[in-house]
């Protein structure tokens, strides 16, 4: 089987029946998708399949062959965060972080569909995702801001400062 993950092609030996999540994490070595419940209940493993959010723990890997698989590693980089990632930083929308990659990918698909900042519509789009830190308000605020097209100066956030300080501290 050949899988294209974040634009890179990988030849894998897993069976077509293996959940995509396990192939990504254990064979391809991409760990952005998290193994939470492994049965479709939490959304931590959500990836984009041709731009559509799917639970990778429920998807037989064979169904992903020939598609473009995007994980959180593929929507931005630490140096060049995607707007949704910037919004999550700005709004402190990640607490423990375990649900964050799934949340952001579901949100990315919502934004790509032209989703609005309406909190109810956002709740609907993220309905399959649980945050056990219960940080939902900030997550919804972040998605709404990204939907509005807000821009953020991340140097003014704690996370931005921390990055600067740790760089300075290492010197």
């Amino acid at each position: 089987m050949n899988l294209t993950v974040n634009g890179v092609s990988h030849e894998v030996g897993s069976s077509e029946l293996t959940p995509l999540l396990d192939v990504l994490r254990l064979e391809v070595g991409v760990t952005g998708p998290k193994a939470g419940c492994h049965q479709g209940g939490c959304g931590a493993c959500t990836v984009l399949i041709d731009g559509e959010p799917r639970r990778s723990c429920l998807l037989p890997a064979g169904y992903a062959e020939g598609t473009a698989i995007t994980t959180v590693e593929g929507i931005g980089s630490p140096e060049d965060l995607a707007p949704i990632q910037q919004a999550f930083v700005h709004y402190y929308a990640a607490q423990c972080g375990f649900c964050t990659s799934g949340m952001m990918l579901a949100a990315q698909a919502y934004l790509d569909r032209g989703g609005s900042g309406d909190p109810e519509a956002i709740q609907h789009a993220l309905g399959g995702h649980v945050c056990r830190c219960t940080g939902y308000s900030k997550i919804i605020d972040a998605v709404a801001a990204a939907a509005r097209g807000d821009s953020f100066d991340l140097t003014t956030t704690a996370v931005g400062k921390h990055t600067t300080m740790s760089n300075g501290g290492a010197a």
């Binding site: 030996g13 897993s14 069976s15 077509e16 029946l17 293996t18 959940p19 396990d22 254990l26 064979e27 193994a35 492994h38 049965q39 479709g40 209940g41 959304g43 959500t46 559509e52 959010p53 799917r54 639970r55 723990c57 429920l58 998807l59 037989p60 064979g62 169904y63 579901a106 609907h124 789009a125 309905g127 399959g128």
Partner: protein, 263 residues
């Protein structure tokens, strides 16, 4: 290579039919075969080894997806995503919209939902009630033979046959009422669907009031409480039998009222 924590599917032979004919051949007589539509119900069963089949038939590329209309007859292919139904008229549209969340609905299939095996934890087969209320016909195969029969007759043997499509006559009116879910991932705890055919016949059916979707003929004349004569609600992780017994007539009344309003 060894993959920890993953279902040992090495012992499972995987078939990926590219057409309905190939799917029928791969299914054979259905012995020790697990059929995978979208995977949303079956894949966790494989992951946690509740299922260890000799053969798996992945229908994702079988081309058995789509909604076709021929006059007032609607035919829905078994691998049509549940999400494709949400804009259809009641009871099917609202019933489909109440299934899980948008990611699961977009991956899970109509056939997989209708054929879901019984679970001790929850009623599965959210859509069964809606299709029963529509008087749907199931087209299915086993041993290479294709037959059509009322969905009601098909449901008890859904584990032994490969569902190909379901079809129904568009009703004159439809209605749906269900319990709101405490969480989007739960199966429908209890719902009632109703449809009035062009000739005035009213059909009612419930999901979650038994081991699979059931008609509620006793209530079809208009007595909502009589629905309890047709079913024996049970306890599971989602709701108690007592609660279901209290709520069922309420949902039936709402559906009957909605049908009346649309007369």
């Amino acid at each position: 290579m060894a993959i920890a924590s993953v279902a040992s599917d090495a012992a499972t032979e995987v078939f990926t039919p590219a057409s309905e004919e190939e799917a029928i051949a791969a299914f054979g007589d259905g012995t020790d075969v697990v059929v995978v539509g979208g995977g949303t119900i079956v894949v966790p069963d494989l992951t946690y080894r509740r299922l260890e089949p000799k053969k798996a038939v992945l229908l994702g590329r079988s081309g058995m997806s789509g909604i076709e209309r021929d006059g007032s007859r609607v035919t829905i292919g078994a691998t049509t995503p549940v999400q494709a139904l949400v804009d259809l008229p009641s009871p099917l549209g609202p019933c489909a919209a109440n299934v899980a969340d948008i990611e699961i609905r977009s991956q899970g299939t109509v056939g997989g939902n209708l054929c879901a095996a019984e679970s001790p934890e929850a009623p599965r087969g959210d859509l069964q009630g809606a299709f029963l209320a529509l008087g749907a016909t199931a087209r299915s195969a086993a041993g290479g033979e294709v037959t059509e029969e009322p969905l009601e007759d098909f449901l008890p043997k859904r584990g032994e046959r490969l569902l190909l499509s379901v079809s129904f006559e568009e009703p004159a009116a439809g209605a749906y009422a269900g319990l709101d879910r405490p969480h989007t991932h739960d199966y429908t705890a209890l719902s009632v669907s109703g449809a009035r055919a062009a000739d005035g016949t009213v059909r009612l059916a419930a999901t979650g009031a038994g081991s699979h979707g059931q008609r509620l003929p006793s209530a079809e004349a208009g007595d909502a409480d009589a629905a309890l004569n047709d079913v024996s609600p049970h306890d599971d992780a989602l709701a108690s039998a007592w609660y279901r017994s209290k709520v069922l007539p309420v949902l039936v009344r709402r559906v009957l009222d909605e049908l009346k309003e649309s007369a």
